[in-house]
């Protein structure tokens, strides 16, 4: 069972070994609407949890994507740069944004599991 965690800023992270894969949640993708642009971080960049790490733009507006975990960027998903609509089609799968080599795995404990995130979204509609 893969361990997926969710942030209050509507990002998800899937951790496999010491690598976390980050994307935006299905709820966030639905709220943004049709995504027409995505920008991913440079390889090797050190990022800090809560920091602006990637960018996503819908027809309507630009939004920052905040990393829920700290570490070094090991990969960016160039497929979403070429075809940003992947983020709407499969936000928690093919529409992932970047991978991070975790520098502080302890941060994961402050994130929510699926049930808690679903409850959080219901109680905090945007």
């Amino acid at each position: 069972m893969p361990d997926i965690k969710y942030s209050k800023k509507h990002e998800w992270v899937l951790v496999e070994g010491n690598i976390g894969t980050v994307g935006i949640t299905k709820y966030a993708a639905e709220q943004l609407g049709d995504i027409v642009f995505a920008e991913i971080p440079d390889l090797g960049k050190n990022i800090t949890s809560g920091g602006e790490t990637a960018v996503v733009e819908s027809v309507k507006a630009a939004s920052d994507v905040y990393t829920p975990i700290s570490g070094e960027v090991t990969e960016g998903n160039s497929a979403i740069v070429t075809d940003p609509s992947l983020i709407n089609k499969d936000p928690e799968g093919q529409g992932w944004f970047f991978k991070v080599k975790l520098s502080n795995p302890g941060e994961l404990s402050s994130l929510m599991n699926k049930a808690d995130y679903d409850k959080y979204v219901l109680e905090n509609p945007s």
Partner: protein
């Protein structure tokens, strides 16, 4: 600034349609419906859409034959030569030659009808009244709704319920009847599509929308798609692409000034406009197309060869053209079509080019 938010006559109807309502020019207006902005945009381009634009000011001036001349002091048209029911795009000019509002004027029996931008309408009315020396009857028609029906199928769908409208030529209007109720309909719009704007009593607005929506080729459209449609069509949004410090010449909207009045410039602020016409301008509104996928929104800084030369005033993604589109003001020496520009987005510069407007073009019913 704790002003009460205003509702159009369709507020409850928008909610029932599942609209996402946002504050706009003091009104709660639908930014999108469940279909979403891009799908709504494409629906208008391929079929037809209904827009509630009742927040806009529907203003009428009734009076004697001097109404046209008096209004011409601040509207640079040749109003006297307009045919009955003919519409023209123009502006309210201020004493600096700047644009206080952009508007559509229609000549009607006994006077002039004007459609004003929602955010400007109350100031516009004050400005118009201030230049009238002879008495006239002014009315801002809050009792009327304004419903735009736009898209290639608008004419056939609307004709079924308001017979006769298909005979209208673009930028012409007339009095019609919807289910026994009077409606003033003009063939006009702000989407780059053929379409109509129906001025009808508030009490009939919902019935008109519901009746049209029985046809599956028409749907409700929010302000989000209205913005992307007008931007693709190269049309200006007041308060963004136009403001009171920008002249019609800088805005590249010379067509809003009647031909013979370009010679005389006999209107308020005319000396400044004439100077711009004769001696040129320092900056100009142009179309700007980013070369990659980067989206340059309003306030994006524009550079040419390392020097800041302007600013984006409207920008986004054009769903019909499939690429990023923008317009903005650049120094005149950088305004030639094809000029290379750089757009600064999130601290990085991206290549772009000056391009012709509109990005998307369709033929109107002439």
């Amino acid at each position: 600034m704790n002003q009460e938010i205003l509702h159009t006559s369709l507020f409850n109807f928008h909610q029932a349609c599942g609209a996402k309502l946002v504050p706009f020019a003091g009104y709660a207006m639908p930014v999108q419906y469940p279909l979403g902005i891009a799908a709504e945009h494409n629906f208008v381009r391929s079929k037809a859409g209904i827009f509630d634009v009742s927040h806009m000011g529907q203003f009428s001036i009734k009076g004697d034959e001097t109404v046209c001349k008096q209004l011409e002091q601040i509207v640079p048209l040749d109003l006297a030569s307009l045919r009955l029911n003919q519409s023209k795009y123009s502006f309210l000019i201020n004493d600096k030659g700047g644009i206080n509002d952009d508007l559509i004027v229609t000549k009607v029996k006994d006077g002039i009808n004007i459609v004003l931008n929602a955010a400007c309408k109350h100031n516009d009315v004050l400005q118009i009244k201030s230049v009238f020396k002879k008495p006239a009857k002014f009315m801002l028609h809050d009792e009327l709704s304004l419903i735009a029906i736009q898209g290639p199928m608008a004419v056939s769908i609307l004709e079924s319920f308001i017979p006769g409208i298909s005979n209208l030529k673009f930028m012409n209007g007339g009095s019609f009847v919807f289910k026994g109720q009077p409606a003033y309909v003009t063939r006009s719009g702000y989407t780059g599509e053929d379409g109509f704007e129906v001025s009808i009593a508030n009490a009939s607005a919902k019935d008109l929308c519901e009746t049209l929506l029985n046809n599956s080729n028409i749907t409700m459209i929010g302000l989000g798609a209205r913005d992307s449609l007008r931007l693709e069509a190269g049309l200006c949004l007041y308060g963004h692409d136009l403001n009171s410090d920008i002249t019609p010449i800088e805005a590249d909207l010379l067509f809003g000034i009647a031909k013979q009045r370009r010679e005389t410039c006999d209107f308020i602020g005319g000396s400044i406009v004439k100077n711009h016409l004769l001696n040129g301008i320092k900056k100009k509104r142009v179309g700007i197309q980013p070369e990659g996928k980067i989206i340059a929104r309003e306030h994006t800084k524009v550079f040419h060869e390392g020097k800041e030369v302007g600013e984006i005033t409207s920008g986004g993604f054009g769903p019909s053209v499939g690429f990023a589109v923008a317009m903005g003001y650049v120094n005149i020496e950088c305004s030639e079509v094809g000029t290379s520009l750089q757009l600064e987005v999130r601290g990085k510069q991206y290549p772009a080019k000056v391009c012709l407007l509109p990005f998307y073009k369709k033929s109107y019913a002439k």
